[in-house]
């Protein structure tokens, strides 16, 4: 008994030390930093509510938050519909299911930096693959990343493309749990395939949809490397993301207190958005 207790402490001691230094301390210090001015060179000074006040009226920060909501407004619905459509297709009797699944999943394993560089070239105004295709079928090319109206939607489409394989797997797992007997029963009742989808498949997949909404929302708030590589936050700050702003405050402007304040605010916004989403989805389910 005593030996077991000692082994327990010994085996978990490194992890406990790690937790204190690299998880608990940073969480506590994040809150402390909110009340400090610190450039990492001179000694930190007490800032009172300066950082919070600045944040409340900082047009750049709120522009970045608004950008994120625009991103999510496009990305989340698009992610759900594409993932669901592909999962439903894969859930049929298929030859080479493994191949299709692997093809859809391929972008998930590729680094976000590579995908951003690749798509900057696909979206490029004159030599970009997409505009080449558009001109080939007689449409006029679109300045995807340099027009303030299309830049964020273009990034949202790219991120959807990168992650869809991941969400297909989630939906496929959910589809396996819809009992075949249920499907057959409802088909015998004379339900059309649309009715089957609307009243059996879709409601049964609610847990997966909640997961997709939550994960893609959290992912959206972490948007960084895409605008960093593709647009630098432009044009007209329309692709500026919160994490990009946080990074610039820390790395370019050396404002640790303010950068940490942005981090804390972002965490609170994520928590609030995910909470509201769950409430809304929960209520929709009750109807």
């Amino acid at each position: 008994m005593r030996a077991e207790r000692r082994s327990g402490w010994l085996l978990t001691a490194p992890y406990s030390a790690f937790l204190i230094a690299f998880a608990i301390y940073p969480i506590v210090f994040a809150v402390v930093l909110v009340f400090l001015h610190w450039d990492l060179v001179t000694t930190p000074t007490f800032a009172g509510a300066d950082n919070v006040r600045l944040l409340a009226t900082d047009a750049r920060f709120w522009r970045a938050v608004a950008n994120t909501f625009i991103f999510l407004g496009i990305h989340v619905p698009l992610q759900i519909t594409t993932a669901l459509a592909l999962a439903l297709a894969l859930n049929r009797q298929l030859a080479g299911r493994g191949f299709w699944r692997a093809a859809f999943f391929l972008p998930v394993v590729i680094s976000g930096a590579v995908v951003a560089i690749l798509w900057s070239n696909l979206y490029a105004n004159d030599v970009g693959l997409i505009n080449r295709l558009l001109t080939k079928i007689g449409l006029s090319p679109v300045p995807w990343l340099t027009d303030p109206r299309t830049a964020m939607p273009a990034i949202a489409v790219m991120v959807t493309w990168k992650n869809v394989g991941f969400y297909v797997i989630i939906y496929l797992a959910g589809l396996q749990y819809i009992a075949r007997s249920c499907q057959e029963a409802i088909a015998l009742e004379g339900a059309t395939s649309w009715q089957r989808f609307r009243y059996l498949t879709l409601p049964s997949l609610l847990p997966q949809t909640i997961l997709v909404v939550t994960l893609s929302t959290i992912n959206g708030f972490q948007l960084f490397i895409e605008p960093y590589v593709m647009t630098g936050g432009g044009p007209l700050r329309r692709t500026y993301s919160v994490v990009l702003y946080l990074y610039n405050n820390a790395f370019s402007y050396q404002k640790m207190g303010y950068a940490a304040t942005i981090g804390v605010a972002l965490a609170l916004i994520i928590g609030a958005v995910v909470f509201v989403q769950r409430q809304v989805i929960g209520r929709a389910e009750a109807l």
Binding site: L11, Y15, L86, A89, V114, L133, V243, L246
Partner: protein, 271 residues
């Protein structure tokens, strides 16, 4: 009717698969094209060249970055497997005071978004004097809460009788873990290994904060800095440098795609 629908299904799937694969094929072919050919839609270069690869290799230390990436990702993966197993084993199978707190803390920190702790962690690294060291890239990733919880979940299912009889034979807890538990835990260990390695291999935000010396940069960071800094100078060269990062992953994915999908999707769901 039925045949038509099947044809439509396969046509749709093929179109979808092309959407995911074609950009990578285009990218691969573009790296072998001279600048004038980049704009063409054809996948086969008329005048294939290795110039893009020569240029990128000469202009930035990509070989060194490749070694850095391998070193960092391998060290982190081994640590997450070995240290994580020790922790998970104790949390699952040993009774000691503090265990419930450890379990609760591990689940709680999974709920904290990384952006919250990014800046305090960065200031910690600065104060430790770890800017431009491997320690900055490795130490904050030595443990992974998702991995610990997955391992713990798996270890909980192994019968107690195995532990009891091993203890009767005088085996230490570490030997029980590595000679009895590990061989039984291959599926979960491979899942943890893949998502840990891939997470480290593709990580770019953290290195951008803590490393400024080109010779310590991992591949995604060097690639980003190289392309954004204008060092590439042409599409072909920037895509060729991206290939250094892609090729090892695609080769591994080709052989282990089932494990990759299970691992990377599973970690997301459980994490």
């Amino acid at each position: 009717m039925k045949v038509l629908r099947r044809v439509a299904l396969y046509a749709g799937l093929t179109l979808a698969a092309l959407t995911f694969i074609y950009p990578f094929l285009w990218m691969t072919s573009a790296t072998f094209k001279p600048p004038l050919e980049i704009g063409s839609l054809s996948l086969i270069p008329h005048n294939p060249t290795l110039d893009n690869y020569r240029t990128m290799w000469a202009r930035a230390p990509f070989g060194r970055a490749l070694l850095n990436s391998i070193l960092v990702a391998t060290t982190i993966t081994l640590a997450v497997l070995v240290l994580g197993s020790m922790t998970a084993y104790a949390m699952a199978r040993l009774r000691f005071r503090g265990r419930p707190i450890l379990n609760a803390a591990t689940m709680a920190i999974l709920l904290v978004p990384g952006q919250l702790t990014l800046i305090p962690l960065y200031t910690l690294i600065v104060q430790l004097g770890w800017i431009d060291t491997y320690a900055a890239l490795i130490v904050p990733y030595l443990f992974n809460a998702t991995a610990i919880l997955m391992l713990r979940q798996f270890f909980l299912q192994i019968p107690q009788s195995l532990i009891d009889s091993a203890r009767m034979d005088g085996m230490s807890e570490l030997r029980i873990l590595f000679t009895i538990f590990w061989p039984l835990s291959k599926p979960v260990l491979s899942i943890v290994a893949i998502f840990t390695f891939m997470g480290s291999w593709n990580e770019v935000l953290w290195p951008l904060l803590v490393v400024r010396d080109q010779h310590l940069m991992t591949l995604p960071q060097l690639l980003t800095v190289f392309v954004l800094g204008g060092g590439a100078g042409s599409i072909g060269v920037s895509l060729a440098s991206a290939m250094v990062l892609v090729i090892p992953v695609v080769v591994a994915y080709a052989f282990l795609q089932r494990n990759f999908i299970e691992s990377m999707a599973g970690a997301g769901i459980k994490g």
